[in-house]
Symmetry: C2
Subunit: 458 residues, 2 copies
């Protein structure tokens, strides 16, 4: 009987063919004309889960595209892992920039080209193949596994929280693992252990019931664009430090080990400036750009508007102006407290000549973290070190991932994010690709991950 | 033989009928479907000028709606006055708020209701009727008179400067008189002797070539809305005093007499707040609201925009933001110097993380003033005092009137603005009206004005 590793070696071509079949289904979640394709992909995936030996494989309805579920729960006294991925993909336009049809995968120079190859069907496939290898070789998994694949990740998971709520008992787990991120570089794996949260508000600064003639009222009436500017410069100093009292309450300081880990990840300032056309970077002193983005809360104006914006000149003093403002939050800031602090402070600093109002917009999310000394992180570090021969990077992300926040909050289980594809895989862009070496090594890493997590507490 | 005053007394009904005929022509300059009506009004007006005894009455083509011209130049050794009015009118929507059809004038409670009754056909008519009275009674005018009526005042006089240039010789004059303003109140006439000028720029603050993800770049990239706010608060302090070095260079200080004159004009702060829905007034300390508006330069943001402005939340850092900024200028500020000072200062104070650019928009205009001790002003004061039995107000306006600026600059003649209608005549609004007492008294005042101006230098 082959070991699981031997099985994986012997099924490289078969594994790739399985993925290619999956990629041929154009499961674009954002385009109604592909709704049937999304459903077809869900059915196809449930069949794969069943084929490889998972049980209870099923397509579960939500208010939108369905979630695919399967499990294997025959490891009493062992932890349970809920493994998350998504089977929906991004649209493919602009189509003329693709060198080959996006849903006809081809192999080229050690890469598999096609929409979804890395994000996220390739990662889903490597997991089912690792599971198959273990079950085929040993007849069992080292722990209990519940696998879910969402069909709406690329459209911001509008029904995921309701799905988790409705299936809370079924999804009950010891840990969550999400495979939808990338490595630092080829051969350099990464574990993401924290994400930032978000609050989002709209500020309106009103001075008058109507736009005013700047000749007849200039020098007499207040100007709401000027007042908005006066408020904005009170929110954040020129270096980017937020001035709202209480804003930083609860911010968990970075440990020396975290700083050391962050510093292991190359930060290419010149490349970043070139990509975005930036003249200079900007942010709080005392922190590296990576530390500021991953582990410091930020406040950003996302949009401003008011008064005349058309061509040429119109001599008005606007009746009102507005700004969209959002804050990225880090552990252990409380979104409600930060929102209240922002509201109180704006009320306090706004010029007395204007009327301000603050509306909370949807999209609030808690920051999330699994401390790096948690056994789950330690197990993953060990597994990746073993397979890749190098210490994985322990990183955070400055962004927010809705599904992670929902699972952490609703299921109350420690979570980690680990992905097996390369950062230059062109996810969301034309010519999305999957590095085949990384795919094959990822199958082994997935296998090893379950072994190590199974050993937690032994 | 009747005196001119007696002639006017005897022709009250006739004068009103003449005006009503003029008002029935819907000469809305902004609406292409009324282009023929505008032309018809011009022809009708030229006929009136000819009928009352003016000479060389003609409709002069421009790049748009024509100008009506007529003159009487038989007073050698006497000054020449160029009298300006406009025969075009504002649109009438919302039509359902009119209590009677806008182009079917009716008399009601001592008022004549109809579009153009005060702005400006009523003022044109009272002048032709005063001229007729003088010519009919005495066979001559006391000075040389050139009358022009513009057909594009309500659309910002786009062809007026070219018209003045092309007819510079024909329009050559000693003085200009403009009748398109209103009195302070019934029985309380006003002479406007200064207007503010204008510069208008568009500021663009760019940080990146594309909008950025606020999670992935927040804490790393500069924010152009924040940078714009930082620039705006450097332009003007919280009280409204402009901080641009050199901005106030050349500002002519108000004399005690001017301040005394301004104070004679009632300023109803409560009414102004109610009209515009203002919580508070705002402006430089050390000046009354009237002084700030009429005699102090101001800097206003006319519009701001950038980033996401739609419904809900979008988590971006904008690539760029922009602002429209204009300054109202007073004598003797130089528009070019102020523009350069603004440009230099913004370059200096803009954060080094952003790229700023400043584009000048059209609409620049010089400030204009005729000093209150000028003989032209003295003559008008004397004429109005004689007719109304009260000292007229000597006022300025915070706005800019394109035609005045053009005539002052291109013809180099001292100018004054005097109008004979009431401030609550609802110009531009539904139910525009003309106070008939004021109309009849205005005919006498116009008559007297020429007598007094004719005496300048005697």
């Amino acid at each position: 009987m082959a070991t699981p590793e031997e099985f994986l070696e012997q099924t490289r071509e078969q594994g790739l063919k399985e993925l290619e079949d999956f990629l041929r289904i154009p499961s674009i979640s954002s385009q109604p004309e592909h709704a049937n394709d999304v459903r077809r992909a869900a059915g196809h995936l449930a069949e794969q889960y069943e084929r490889v030996g998972l049980e209870n494989a099923q397509v579960i309805e939500t208010g939108g595209h369905p979630v695919v579920y399967a499990d294997w729960l025959k490891a009493p006294n062992k932890p349970t892992v809920l493994l998350y991925g998504h089977y929906d993909v991004q649209p493919v336009d602009p189509l003329d920039l693709w060198t080959s049809p996006p849903f006809e995968p081809i192999r080229q120079d050690g890469q598999l080209l096609g929409r979804g190859s890395s994000d996220d069907k390739g990662q889903i496939a490597l997991h089912w193949q690792a599971i198959q290898a273990r079950l085929n070789s040993t007849g069992e998994l080292p722990l209990n596994l519940k696998v879910i694949a969402e069909g709406e990740e690329e459209i911001a998971s509008p029904h995921f929280e309701a799905f988790v709520d409705a299936n809370a008992e079924r999804l009950k787990t010891t840990y969550c693992v999400v495979s939808d991120t990338s490595m630092v570089a080829k051969g350099f794996p990464a574990i993401t252990y924290a994400l930032r949260g978000l609050i989002y508000v709209e500020l309106r600064v009103e001075v008058a019931s109507t736009d005013m003639h700047s000749g007849l009222l200039g020098g007499v009436a207040p100007n709401p664009a000027q007042a908005l500017a006066e408020i904005l410069v009170r929110l954040k100093d020129a270096a980017g430090h937020v001035l709202v009292p209480g804003f930083y309450d609860g911010v968990r300081p970075l440990s020396e080990e975290e700083r050391r880990q962050f510093a292991r990840v190359p930060f290419d300032e010149a490349a970043l400036k070139k990509t975005y056309g930036l003249t200079a970077l900007h942010g709080e002193s005392g922190f590296t750009p990576t530390e500021r983005n991953w582990a410091r809360p930020t406040l950003e104006v996302n949009g401003i508007w008011g008064g005349y914006q058309g061509p040429g000149a119109k001599t008005i003093i606007p009746a009102w102006t507005a700004a969209k403002i959002s804050c990225r939050l880090v552990p252990d800031q409380d979104p409600n407290s930060v929102t209240q602090a922002l509201r109180d402070y704006i009320d306090e600093v706004a010029p007395k000549t204007v009327r301000v109002s603050l509306a909370e917009l949807s999209g609030h999310g808690d920051p999330w973290i699994t401390p790096i000394d948690h056994p789950l992180i330690k197990a993953a570090r060990s597994a990746l070190h073993r397979v890749y021969g190098t210490e994985p990077a322990l990183i955070r992300s400055g962004g927010s991932i809705g599904a992670v926040e929902v699972m952490a909050r609703r299921l109350g289980a420690p979570c980690l994010l680990v992905g097996f594809v390369l950062p230059d895989s062109l996810a969301h862009a034309p010519n999305e690709r999957l590095d085949l070496d990384s795919f094959y090594l990822g199958r082994k890493a997935a296998l090893q991950l379950w072994e190590e997590i199974a050993g937690i507490g032994d």
